[in-house]
Symmetry: C2
Subunit: 452 residues, 2 copies
Amino acid sequence: MKNEMFDIIIVGGGPAGIISAITAKKHTKKKRVLLIREINRGLVPCGIPYMFFTLKRPEDNILNTDSLKENKIITKIEEVIKINRKKKEILTKNSKKYKYNKLILATGSIPMTLPIEGVNLQGVYPIYKSLNYLKNLKKELKKSKDIIIIGGGFIGVEFADELSKFKTLNLSIVELLPSLLSNSFDIEFSKLAEQQLIKRNVRIYSGLSVESINGKEKVESVLLSNGKVMPADMVILGIGAKPNISLAEKSGLKTSKFGISVDKYLRTSDKDIFAVGDCSENSDFFTKEKTNIMLASTATTQARIAGCNLSRNFFNKNIGVLSSYSTKVGGLTLSSTGMTEKTAIKNGFKVVTGNAESFDKHPKKMPYAGKIKVKLIFSNQSGVILGGQIAGGESAGEIINIISTAIQKKFSITEIESLQIATHPKLTPAPTTYPIINAAQDALEKINWRAK
Amino acid sequence: MKNEMFDIIIVGGGPAGIISAITAKKHTKKKRVLLIREINRGLVPCGIPYMFFTLKRPEDNILNTDSLKENKIITKIEEVIKINRKKKEILTKNSKKYKYNKLILATGSIPMTLPIEGVNLQGVYPIYKSLNYLKNLKKELKKSKDIIIIGGGFIGVEFADELSKFKTLNLSIVELLPSLLSNSFDIEFSKLAEQQLIKRNVRIYSGLSVESINGKEKVESVLLSNGKVMPADMVILGIGAKPNISLAEKSGLKTSKFGISVDKYLRTSDKDIFAVGDCSENSDFFTKEKTNIMLASTATTQARIAGCNLSRNFFNKNIGVLSSYSTKVGGLTLSSTGMTEKTAIKNGFKVVTGNAESFDKHPKKMPYAGKIKVKLIFSNQSGVILGGQIAGGESAGEIINIISTAIQKKFSITEIESLQIATHPKLTPAPTTYPIINAAQDALEKINWRAK
């Protein structure tokens, strides 16, 4: 039997894989596109923290793949174990072979674990993107009381927020850095997140590491770097993920600790193979240095670029990862894009910041009007926007994308000060106090004074 | 007594006047800035439709002017009746004179009336921005039953939406154009607004004009152009406004029917006098032709530009009015920015449109997730974004500003397709189906097929 031939094969069924396949297919309808993945029912990655309380059933977080069918993409549930780059074919665990003309690797990431004692005890849970695994975690939650979350990044904070809705749990977060969400927010915004969690009885141990996890078969306690021993029925590891590069490595593609090496068109060291999403190397938008940011939104952007690059007759560039995030902690939405002030300074930028506070509806007596606080970071030399952070109501989750859009096209401080925006009493801050604009004006005022 | 001297005088206390004054003062702290206005307690213009039901008390819509005091701007409540341009001084109704170095006119607009019989009858209400007038309107509402709103633009639609909450009223809108909100939305979006109003028992008479308003002292009925006579206790005129240029005219400044003539730096025909907001001529962002768009958000943008131009040593350009709007009709948020498809075609652009539908939270089973629909309009020649329209939940009110930002810096279709955005289950659509991105991809697909 001849090996089945496809124009394009995508390995991986997460957001990056799905969007690569759809983008490729949309633009080359006649070509045969195969998406091959290991599991049938994947999960929405960022929905995972919400499978325990917010969503009615864990199954509600299954990644919708109807779009694959609608776009006539062939799918197979198989594990790819090798790429034969010479023959341009992939080999699966069931010994099937499929030939490709172009291949996209979207093999994702695997959760990191800690190099400490006790990390393999029962009751220690890295966050695997597996429905059954997380259903089991949910079941175990009901029997638990003392829960330690290791890692105060987005995963850790969102798990703490979600689990704080179970009033019977004692929740603690342990974070190595001095504050929560420290990679994405300056301290004044991190503090707001921490206040929300503290209000919900989550205890925060920052600036500390976990020395060991203790217990016989099952976790019983955790030892912190300050000598404190904390009782624990369950430990959740929210310390991030690393790129899943084993298939690429075995197949002789160039890789680094940041992932599968790619050029700015997302081609690997083999020009017929692209890599996108968590498994691929990312560069920072500003510094162009390699970074280990992993985000579904970044992954899908890369997927669209790669999907375009292999199916159209021009090449789209990957401009680098912007790091745009939103989260909700308690009643507060926190959003960040680009560089924080501290990251910018660490990277040698001279910065000027602008701050503004307003209400997210207007006049402020409108029903449901809440406070919103914006910080913008500009280059003090070029006047170009470098980053922004917001704390406010749910609308902050989209307002951050205005800033994100502005960063991608290097808006200047005066361009943001004179931005034209749609406003409405029930929907947005007032045009007179629109906080992005006022924050730019605040920064401009500082530049003016400095120059005098 | 010597006439009092100011570095900068602003005439007008609406959003444009306030923001001009603050911007000017922020950047030249030592200079004396006077804001002179006719009434002490102005109103938030876009909040006016919500003074009848949504806001607890009409007083809740008073424009907050604390920022004037905070910024040490001198204010006076007086009517300016003349500018003596030679002496560079203004004369008030109380015969006071104030000298200026630079003057900003922010005299606003006055509601239009109809050149028909009966327009001055009791019970016919143009929308004046006056607290007492609108409090009286609210009182009269309680005695009314049949209410005819003339004009199906934003004011008319928002009044209809707000008044539909009084279940005792029979509400009708009469609109000359074939659909409501027709200047800002293509027909498929206008229809969604109409459905919301119809669901709330508002009757819509589009493609019709009012021939006369009938009654003895008080309005009794309205005659439509199709011969229909409609009983009416109250008629609300929501047909727009015209620039208030009388002071400028009397003072010999150049004006047109679009307002006080200004150059792209917002200087009038007298280089020491600027004009901003509703009273000044606006140009369209795309066609550079004069337009009568009047928006508080546009007015404040102009105010920031003029405030900067007279107080700093560089000149900011006014890039022209983008026309970005949001409104909420019933449970639906409708937003628009830039050109509609029909406006673009009317102006000679060749366009390609892209459409996408998604949910505003993800996965779609997240609590409160609702549908969102986006249409983008691109130039088919340059690939540059020309406009966008959204129908969805409240987040549409900020998502439109992402498109608005993209238009201001001429994003291309592929730049929008590969936009990096922050996403979160509780706050935004999924990264895989973010509707702005998918609409760009949809448009790109059409271009690809056409090119083949």
